[in-house]
Symmetry: C2
Subunit: 203 residues, 2 copies
DNA sequence: ATGCTATGTTGACGCTGTCAAGATAGCATC
DNA sequence: GATGCTATCTTGACAGCGTCAACATAGCAT
Protein backbone atom coordinates (compact mmCIF):
# COMPACT_ATOMS: atom_id res chain seq x y z
CA UNK A 1 0.00 0.00 0.00
CA UNK A 2 2.39 2.59 1.28
CA UNK A 3 5.19 1.75 -1.08
CA UNK A 4 7.26 4.90 -1.23
CA UNK A 5 7.85 5.15 -4.96
CA UNK A 6 5.23 3.69 -7.18
CA UNK A 7 4.55 5.17 -10.55
CA UNK A 8 0.86 5.84 -10.13
CA UNK A 9 -0.16 7.83 -7.13
CA UNK A 10 -3.49 6.21 -6.54
CA UNK A 11 -5.76 9.15 -5.90
CA UNK A 12 -3.84 12.21 -6.89
CA UNK A 13 -6.98 14.23 -7.54
CA UNK A 14 -8.11 14.08 -3.93
CA UNK A 15 -4.58 14.37 -2.60
CA UNK A 16 -4.04 17.56 -4.58
CA UNK A 17 -7.22 19.14 -3.27
CA UNK A 18 -6.37 18.13 0.29
CA UNK A 19 -2.83 19.44 0.08
CA UNK A 20 -4.02 22.58 -1.69
CA UNK A 21 -6.44 23.35 1.13
CA UNK A 22 -3.61 23.09 3.64
CA UNK A 23 -1.27 25.21 1.55
CA UNK A 24 -4.00 27.78 0.98
CA UNK A 25 -4.76 28.06 4.67
CA UNK A 26 -1.10 28.36 5.60
CA UNK A 27 0.24 30.58 2.87
CA UNK A 28 -2.65 32.08 0.96
CA UNK A 29 -3.24 31.96 -2.75
CA UNK A 30 0.06 33.66 -3.40
CA UNK A 31 1.91 30.78 -1.81
CA UNK A 32 -0.07 28.16 -3.63
CA UNK A 33 1.86 27.16 -6.71
CA UNK A 34 1.20 24.04 -8.72
CA UNK A 35 4.85 23.13 -8.53
CA UNK A 36 4.98 23.21 -4.76
CA UNK A 37 1.70 21.39 -4.64
CA UNK A 38 3.06 18.65 -6.84
CA UNK A 39 6.21 18.44 -4.78
CA UNK A 40 4.21 18.04 -1.57
CA UNK A 41 2.16 15.30 -3.15
CA UNK A 42 5.41 13.59 -4.11
CA UNK A 43 4.77 13.90 -7.80
CA UNK A 44 6.31 15.70 -10.75
CA UNK A 45 5.52 19.31 -11.71
CA UNK A 46 3.09 18.60 -14.48
CA UNK A 47 1.25 15.64 -13.01
CA UNK A 48 -1.60 17.86 -11.72
CA UNK A 49 -2.46 18.75 -15.29
CA UNK A 50 -3.91 15.27 -15.74
CA UNK A 51 -6.47 16.01 -13.02
CA UNK A 52 -7.18 19.70 -13.45
CA UNK A 53 -7.24 21.66 -16.66
CA UNK A 54 -5.08 24.34 -15.14
CA UNK A 55 -4.44 26.20 -11.91
CA UNK A 56 -7.64 28.17 -12.30
CA UNK A 57 -9.69 24.97 -12.38
CA UNK A 58 -8.05 23.65 -9.24
CA UNK A 59 -8.73 26.90 -7.41
CA UNK A 60 -12.35 26.82 -8.57
CA UNK A 61 -12.75 23.33 -7.12
CA UNK A 62 -11.24 24.55 -3.87
CA UNK A 63 -13.61 27.50 -3.71
CA UNK A 64 -16.55 25.24 -4.47
CA UNK A 65 -15.79 23.21 -1.39
CA UNK A 66 -15.95 26.39 0.61
CA UNK A 67 -19.40 27.26 -0.73
CA UNK A 68 -20.67 23.86 0.29
CA UNK A 69 -19.42 24.46 3.80
CA UNK A 70 -21.11 27.85 3.80
CA UNK A 71 -24.30 26.24 2.61
CA UNK A 72 -24.20 23.87 5.56
CA UNK A 73 -23.63 26.78 7.93
CA UNK A 74 -26.68 28.52 6.53
CA UNK A 75 -28.85 25.47 6.95
CA UNK A 76 -27.92 25.23 10.59
CA UNK A 77 -28.72 28.83 11.34
CA UNK A 78 -32.37 29.06 12.26
CA UNK A 79 -34.32 32.24 12.68
CA UNK A 80 -37.36 32.52 14.87
CA UNK A 81 -40.48 33.79 13.27
CA UNK A 82 -41.61 36.00 16.12
CA UNK A 83 -38.27 37.71 16.76
CA UNK A 84 -35.60 37.36 14.08
CA UNK A 85 -32.98 39.24 16.08
CA UNK A 86 -31.28 36.41 18.01
CA UNK A 87 -31.30 34.18 14.95
CA UNK A 88 -29.89 36.88 12.75
CA UNK A 89 -27.24 37.72 15.30
CA UNK A 90 -26.28 34.07 15.51
CA UNK A 91 -26.07 33.85 11.74
CA UNK A 92 -23.95 36.97 11.40
CA UNK A 93 -21.52 35.77 14.03
CA UNK A 94 -21.39 32.38 12.37
CA UNK A 95 -20.66 33.98 9.04
CA UNK A 96 -17.88 36.08 10.47
CA UNK A 97 -16.45 33.08 12.27
CA UNK A 98 -16.54 31.16 9.01
CA UNK A 99 -14.57 33.89 7.30
CA UNK A 100 -12.10 34.34 10.16
CA UNK A 101 -11.53 30.65 10.62
CA UNK A 102 -10.07 30.26 7.16
CA UNK A 103 -9.52 33.73 5.72
CA UNK A 104 -7.72 32.53 2.65
CA UNK A 105 -10.52 30.19 1.74
CA UNK A 106 -13.02 33.03 2.12
CA UNK A 107 -10.83 35.29 0.04
CA UNK A 108 -10.65 32.65 -2.65
CA UNK A 109 -14.42 32.17 -2.65
CA UNK A 110 -15.24 35.84 -3.03
CA UNK A 111 -12.06 37.42 -4.26
CA UNK A 112 -11.09 38.67 -7.65
CA UNK A 113 -8.63 35.85 -8.22
CA UNK A 114 -11.39 33.68 -9.60
CA UNK A 115 -14.22 36.06 -10.39
CA UNK A 116 -12.32 38.82 -12.09
CA UNK A 117 -8.87 37.73 -13.10
CA UNK A 118 -9.63 34.06 -13.57
CA UNK A 119 -12.47 32.29 -15.31
CA UNK A 120 -14.94 30.84 -12.78
CA UNK A 121 -15.99 27.31 -13.63
CA UNK A 122 -19.61 26.87 -14.62
CA UNK A 123 -19.94 24.52 -11.70
CA UNK A 124 -18.53 27.07 -9.28
CA UNK A 125 -20.81 29.77 -10.61
CA UNK A 126 -23.83 27.55 -10.10
CA UNK A 127 -22.91 26.64 -6.54
CA UNK A 128 -22.11 30.24 -5.60
CA UNK A 129 -25.33 31.61 -7.02
CA UNK A 130 -27.28 28.83 -5.33
CA UNK A 131 -25.66 29.83 -2.06
CA UNK A 132 -26.83 33.40 -2.40
CA UNK A 133 -30.31 32.36 -3.46
CA UNK A 134 -30.54 30.24 -0.35
CA UNK A 135 -29.64 33.34 1.67
CA UNK A 136 -32.34 35.40 0.01
CA UNK A 137 -34.90 32.66 0.56
CA UNK A 138 -33.91 32.23 4.16
CA UNK A 139 -34.09 35.92 4.86
CA UNK A 140 -37.46 36.14 3.18
CA UNK A 141 -38.98 33.03 4.75
CA UNK A 142 -37.55 33.01 8.24
CA UNK A 143 -36.40 36.53 8.85
CA UNK A 144 -38.89 38.80 7.24
CA UNK A 145 -42.12 36.88 7.38
CA UNK A 146 -43.19 38.19 10.73
CA UNK A 147 -41.99 41.70 10.02
CA UNK A 148 -43.23 44.38 7.76
CA UNK A 149 -40.82 45.74 5.25
CA UNK A 150 -40.73 49.50 4.93
CA UNK A 151 -42.66 50.71 1.95
CA UNK A 152 -41.42 49.45 -1.35
CA UNK A 153 -38.47 47.50 -0.01
CA UNK A 154 -37.72 44.47 -2.15
CA UNK A 155 -36.55 41.45 -0.14
CA UNK A 156 -33.93 40.86 -2.82
CA UNK A 157 -32.58 44.35 -2.29
CA UNK A 158 -32.52 43.90 1.45
CA UNK A 159 -30.65 40.65 0.98
CA UNK A 160 -28.15 42.24 -1.38
CA UNK A 161 -27.52 45.21 0.86
CA UNK A 162 -27.25 43.13 4.03
CA UNK A 163 -24.96 40.57 2.44
CA UNK A 164 -22.86 43.44 1.20
CA UNK A 165 -22.57 44.68 4.77
CA UNK A 166 -21.52 41.26 5.94
CA UNK A 167 -19.10 40.83 3.08
CA UNK A 168 -17.66 44.31 3.51
CA UNK A 169 -17.02 43.67 7.18
CA UNK A 170 -15.22 40.46 6.35
CA UNK A 171 -13.09 42.09 3.70
CA UNK A 172 -12.10 45.06 5.79
CA UNK A 173 -11.28 42.73 8.62
CA UNK A 174 -9.46 40.04 6.71
CA UNK A 175 -7.47 42.44 4.57
CA UNK A 176 -6.47 44.12 7.80
CA UNK A 177 -7.45 47.60 6.74
CA UNK A 178 -9.50 49.44 9.27
CA UNK A 179 -11.35 47.27 11.69
CA UNK A 180 -9.46 45.73 14.54
CA UNK A 181 -10.18 42.12 15.24
CA UNK A 182 -11.06 43.11 18.77
CA UNK A 183 -13.72 45.54 17.62
CA UNK A 184 -15.27 42.84 15.55
CA UNK A 185 -17.95 41.77 17.96
CA UNK A 186 -19.18 45.30 18.49
CA UNK A 187 -19.15 46.11 14.79
CA UNK A 188 -20.90 42.86 14.08
CA UNK A 189 -23.68 43.73 16.50
CA UNK A 190 -23.89 47.16 14.97
CA UNK A 191 -24.30 45.51 11.58
CA UNK A 192 -27.13 43.38 12.93
CA UNK A 193 -28.77 46.55 14.24
CA UNK A 194 -28.31 48.09 10.81
CA UNK A 195 -29.93 45.16 9.09
CA UNK A 196 -32.75 44.89 11.57
CA UNK A 197 -33.49 48.57 11.47
CA UNK A 198 -34.13 48.25 7.77
CA UNK A 199 -36.38 45.30 8.33
CA UNK A 200 -38.71 46.47 11.02
CA UNK A 201 -39.90 50.02 10.66
CA UNK A 202 -40.19 50.89 14.34
CA UNK A 203 -38.98 49.41 17.61
CA UNK B 1 14.54 68.29 -24.99
CA UNK B 2 12.78 65.48 -26.72
CA UNK B 3 15.87 63.75 -27.96
CA UNK B 4 14.84 60.18 -28.49
CA UNK B 5 17.74 58.37 -26.89
CA UNK B 6 19.40 60.17 -24.04
CA UNK B 7 20.92 58.29 -21.19
CA UNK B 8 19.00 59.96 -18.42
CA UNK B 9 15.27 60.02 -18.68
CA UNK B 10 14.68 63.32 -16.96
CA UNK B 11 11.76 62.57 -14.70
CA UNK B 12 11.39 58.84 -14.64
CA UNK B 13 9.74 58.82 -11.24
CA UNK B 14 6.72 60.77 -12.44
CA UNK B 15 6.67 59.01 -15.80
CA UNK B 16 6.55 55.63 -14.10
CA UNK B 17 3.65 56.62 -11.89
CA UNK B 18 1.78 58.09 -14.85
CA UNK B 19 2.32 55.05 -17.03
CA UNK B 20 1.52 52.72 -14.12
CA UNK B 21 -1.83 54.40 -13.59
CA UNK B 22 -2.69 53.86 -17.24
CA UNK B 23 -1.54 50.26 -17.21
CA UNK B 24 -3.43 49.62 -13.98
CA UNK B 25 -6.64 51.04 -15.37
CA UNK B 26 -6.35 49.09 -18.60
CA UNK B 27 -5.08 45.74 -17.39
CA UNK B 28 -5.40 45.60 -13.63
CA UNK B 29 -2.67 44.78 -11.15
CA UNK B 30 -2.09 41.44 -12.78
CA UNK B 31 -1.09 43.14 -16.02
CA UNK B 32 1.14 45.63 -14.32
CA UNK B 33 4.68 44.33 -14.39
CA UNK B 34 7.74 46.42 -13.76
CA UNK B 35 9.29 45.17 -16.95
CA UNK B 36 6.40 46.26 -19.11
CA UNK B 37 6.28 49.51 -17.25
CA UNK B 38 9.94 50.13 -17.93
CA UNK B 39 9.50 49.21 -21.57
CA UNK B 40 6.65 51.67 -21.95
CA UNK B 41 8.73 54.38 -20.36
CA UNK B 42 11.49 53.58 -22.85
CA UNK B 43 13.93 52.50 -20.21
CA UNK B 44 15.65 49.30 -19.16
CA UNK B 45 14.09 46.66 -16.89
CA UNK B 46 15.82 47.64 -13.71
CA UNK B 47 15.77 51.40 -14.04
CA UNK B 48 12.62 51.70 -11.89
CA UNK B 49 14.56 50.34 -8.94
CA UNK B 50 16.39 53.62 -8.69
CA UNK B 51 13.09 55.39 -8.02
CA UNK B 52 11.11 52.84 -6.05
CA UNK B 53 12.43 50.32 -3.59
CA UNK B 54 10.46 47.57 -5.25
CA UNK B 55 7.16 46.85 -6.95
CA UNK B 56 5.32 47.01 -3.65
CA UNK B 57 6.53 50.57 -3.05
CA UNK B 58 5.39 51.68 -6.48
CA UNK B 59 1.95 50.19 -5.95
CA UNK B 60 1.72 51.87 -2.57
CA UNK B 61 2.45 55.23 -4.16
CA UNK B 62 -0.24 54.52 -6.74
CA UNK B 63 -2.78 53.65 -4.07
CA UNK B 64 -1.87 56.74 -2.12
CA UNK B 65 -2.84 58.89 -5.07
CA UNK B 66 -6.20 57.20 -5.02
CA UNK B 67 -6.77 58.02 -1.37
CA UNK B 68 -6.04 61.66 -2.04
CA UNK B 69 -8.68 61.65 -4.75
CA UNK B 70 -11.12 59.99 -2.39
CA UNK B 71 -10.33 62.61 0.21
CA UNK B 72 -11.23 65.31 -2.26
CA UNK B 73 -14.48 63.56 -3.07
CA UNK B 74 -15.36 63.46 0.58
CA UNK B 75 -14.67 67.13 1.05
CA UNK B 76 -17.03 68.00 -1.75
CA UNK B 77 -19.87 65.91 -0.39
CA UNK B 78 -21.91 68.05 1.96
CA UNK B 79 -24.64 66.84 4.22
CA UNK B 80 -27.44 69.00 5.46
CA UNK B 81 -27.93 69.22 9.15
CA UNK B 82 -31.70 69.08 9.14
CA UNK B 83 -32.08 66.14 6.76
CA UNK B 84 -28.97 64.08 6.07
CA UNK B 85 -30.70 61.81 3.58
CA UNK B 86 -30.06 63.66 0.29
CA UNK B 87 -26.48 64.42 1.29
CA UNK B 88 -25.85 60.85 2.30
CA UNK B 89 -27.40 59.55 -0.88
CA UNK B 90 -25.22 61.89 -2.90
CA UNK B 91 -22.14 60.73 -1.05
CA UNK B 92 -22.95 57.05 -1.48
CA UNK B 93 -23.51 57.47 -5.20
CA UNK B 94 -20.32 59.47 -5.47
CA UNK B 95 -18.41 56.76 -3.65
CA UNK B 96 -19.79 54.06 -5.91
CA UNK B 97 -19.03 56.16 -8.97
CA UNK B 98 -15.50 56.62 -7.72
CA UNK B 99 -15.09 52.87 -7.41
CA UNK B 100 -16.72 52.10 -10.74
CA UNK B 101 -14.83 54.76 -12.61
CA UNK B 102 -11.48 53.11 -11.95
CA UNK B 103 -12.16 49.69 -10.46
CA UNK B 104 -8.56 48.59 -10.53
CA UNK B 105 -7.46 51.63 -8.63
CA UNK B 106 -10.13 50.99 -6.00
CA UNK B 107 -9.09 47.37 -5.79
CA UNK B 108 -5.50 48.41 -5.30
CA UNK B 109 -6.45 50.87 -2.56
CA UNK B 110 -8.46 48.40 -0.53
CA UNK B 111 -7.41 45.01 -1.81
CA UNK B 112 -5.20 42.42 -0.25
CA UNK B 113 -2.40 43.02 -2.72
CA UNK B 114 -1.02 45.75 -0.53
CA UNK B 115 -2.65 45.25 2.85
CA UNK B 116 -2.28 41.53 3.24
CA UNK B 117 0.19 40.12 0.76
CA UNK B 118 2.36 43.20 0.44
CA UNK B 119 3.77 45.57 3.04
CA UNK B 120 1.86 48.85 3.06
CA UNK B 121 4.16 51.85 3.22
CA UNK B 122 3.99 53.88 6.39
CA UNK B 123 2.98 56.81 4.27
CA UNK B 124 0.15 54.87 2.66
CA UNK B 125 -1.08 53.64 6.01
CA UNK B 126 -1.20 57.18 7.34
CA UNK B 127 -3.11 58.53 4.36
CA UNK B 128 -5.58 55.65 4.39
CA UNK B 129 -6.29 55.92 8.08
CA UNK B 130 -6.67 59.67 7.74
CA UNK B 131 -9.20 59.09 5.01
CA UNK B 132 -11.32 56.88 7.24
CA UNK B 133 -11.04 59.27 10.16
CA UNK B 134 -12.31 62.03 7.93
CA UNK B 135 -15.28 59.82 7.12
CA UNK B 136 -16.05 59.19 10.77
CA UNK B 137 -15.76 62.89 11.57
CA UNK B 138 -17.94 63.86 8.66
CA UNK B 139 -20.60 61.35 9.59
CA UNK B 140 -20.54 62.51 13.17
CA UNK B 141 -20.50 66.21 12.48
CA UNK B 142 -22.68 66.59 9.41
CA UNK B 143 -24.75 63.48 9.35
CA UNK B 144 -25.59 62.60 12.88
CA UNK B 145 -25.66 65.90 14.67
CA UNK B 146 -29.31 66.60 14.06
CA UNK B 147 -30.35 63.03 14.67
CA UNK B 148 -30.49 60.91 17.75
CA UNK B 149 -28.56 57.70 17.71
CA UNK B 150 -30.35 54.64 19.01
CA UNK B 151 -29.36 53.79 22.55
CA UNK B 152 -25.72 53.07 23.03
CA UNK B 153 -24.75 53.35 19.39
CA UNK B 154 -21.18 54.57 19.03
CA UNK B 155 -20.65 56.87 16.04
CA UNK B 156 -17.44 55.01 15.32
CA UNK B 157 -19.36 51.75 15.12
CA UNK B 158 -21.94 53.28 12.83
CA UNK B 159 -19.17 54.58 10.64
CA UNK B 160 -17.44 51.22 10.54
CA UNK B 161 -20.62 49.32 9.75
CA UNK B 162 -21.79 51.79 7.12
CA UNK B 163 -18.41 51.94 5.43
CA UNK B 164 -18.41 48.18 5.43
CA UNK B 165 -21.73 48.24 3.61
CA UNK B 166 -20.37 50.63 1.05
CA UNK B 167 -17.17 48.70 0.65
CA UNK B 168 -18.97 45.38 0.43
CA UNK B 169 -21.23 46.69 -2.30
CA UNK B 170 -18.23 47.90 -4.26
CA UNK B 171 -16.38 44.62 -3.91
CA UNK B 172 -19.32 42.48 -4.85
CA UNK B 173 -19.97 44.73 -7.79
CA UNK B 174 -16.41 45.13 -9.02
CA UNK B 175 -15.50 41.50 -8.59
CA UNK B 176 -18.58 40.72 -10.61
CA UNK B 177 -20.01 38.25 -8.15
CA UNK B 178 -23.61 38.83 -7.30
CA UNK B 179 -24.87 42.28 -7.99
CA UNK B 180 -25.55 43.34 -11.53
CA UNK B 181 -24.31 46.73 -12.48
CA UNK B 182 -27.87 47.59 -13.46
CA UNK B 183 -29.21 46.84 -10.00
CA UNK B 184 -26.62 49.09 -8.53
CA UNK B 185 -28.73 52.20 -8.15
CA UNK B 186 -31.50 50.32 -6.39
CA UNK B 187 -29.11 48.49 -4.11
CA UNK B 188 -27.32 51.71 -3.40
CA UNK B 189 -30.55 53.38 -2.34
CA UNK B 190 -31.33 50.36 -0.21
CA UNK B 191 -27.98 50.76 1.45
CA UNK B 192 -28.72 54.40 2.19
CA UNK B 193 -32.01 53.32 3.73
CA UNK B 194 -30.11 50.78 5.78
CA UNK B 195 -27.67 53.35 7.03
CA UNK B 196 -30.32 55.94 7.74
CA UNK B 197 -32.53 53.48 9.55
CA UNK B 198 -29.72 52.92 12.00
CA UNK B 199 -29.29 56.63 12.46
CA UNK B 200 -32.77 57.87 13.10
CA UNK B 201 -34.80 55.67 15.40
CA UNK B 202 -38.22 56.24 13.89
CA UNK B 203 -39.62 57.91 10.79
C1' DA C 1 -0.49 -11.49 -25.40
C1' DT C 2 -1.99 -6.94 -27.47
C1' DG C 3 -3.10 -2.57 -27.46
C1' DC C 4 -5.60 1.49 -25.67
C1' DT C 5 -5.92 4.95 -22.30
C1' DA C 6 -5.07 7.07 -18.00
C1' DT C 7 -1.49 8.71 -15.60
C1' DG C 8 3.27 10.44 -14.60
C1' DT C 9 7.92 12.11 -16.30
C1' DT C 10 11.55 15.24 -18.29
C1' DG C 11 12.64 19.23 -21.17
C1' DA C 12 11.73 23.59 -22.69
C1' DC C 13 9.72 28.38 -23.26
C1' DG C 14 8.52 32.88 -21.86
C1' DC C 15 7.14 35.49 -18.20
C1' DT C 16 8.01 37.50 -13.62
C1' DG C 17 10.76 40.31 -9.54
C1' DT C 18 15.14 41.30 -8.09
C1' DC C 19 20.22 41.37 -7.18
C1' DA C 20 25.17 42.35 -8.67
C1' DA C 21 28.40 44.71 -11.42
C1' DG C 22 29.55 47.87 -14.68
C1' DA C 23 28.66 52.23 -17.60
C1' DT C 24 27.40 57.01 -18.07
C1' DA C 25 25.89 61.74 -17.02
C1' DG C 26 25.70 65.71 -14.40
C1' DC C 27 27.07 68.47 -10.83
C1' DA C 28 30.17 70.27 -7.08
C1' DT C 29 34.66 71.12 -5.85
C1' DC C 30 39.46 72.09 -6.30
C1' DG D 1 39.18 73.16 -16.90
C1' DA D 2 40.23 68.80 -14.56
C1' DT D 3 38.70 65.56 -10.73
C1' DG D 4 35.78 63.00 -8.43
C1' DC D 5 31.26 61.87 -6.23
C1' DT D 6 26.73 60.43 -6.78
C1' DA D 7 22.50 59.72 -9.06
C1' DT D 8 20.95 57.33 -12.70
C1' DC D 9 20.73 53.76 -16.21
C1' DT D 10 22.61 49.46 -18.40
C1' DT D 11 23.41 44.36 -19.16
C1' DG D 12 23.76 39.76 -17.09
C1' DA D 13 22.11 36.50 -14.15
C1' DC D 14 19.09 33.74 -11.00
C1' DA D 15 15.15 31.42 -9.12
C1' DG D 16 10.41 30.96 -9.40
C1' DC D 17 6.16 30.59 -11.91
C1' DG D 18 2.31 28.32 -15.40
C1' DT D 19 2.09 25.62 -19.19
C1' DC D 20 2.98 23.02 -23.57
C1' DA D 21 5.17 19.01 -26.15
C1' DA D 22 7.13 14.67 -26.25
C1' DC D 23 7.98 10.55 -24.08
C1' DA D 24 7.42 6.60 -20.39
C1' DT D 25 4.86 3.55 -17.72
C1' DA D 26 1.01 1.04 -15.58
C1' DG D 27 -3.24 -0.99 -15.61
C1' DC D 28 -7.17 -2.62 -17.68
C1' DA D 29 -10.07 -4.53 -21.57
C1' DT D 30 -9.90 -7.14 -25.42
Amino acid sequence: MTQPARYHHGDLHAALLREAAVLLREQGVEGLSLRRLAERAGVSRTAPYHHFQDKNALLCALAEDGFHRLDRLMEEAAFQADDPEPGLRRFVRGYLRFACDDPEQYELMFGRTLWKTGRPTESLTRVAHGCFRRYVDKLEADGLRATTLPGGADPLRVAQASWATLHGLCRLLLDGIYVDRQDMEAVSDQAVALMLAAVRPAP
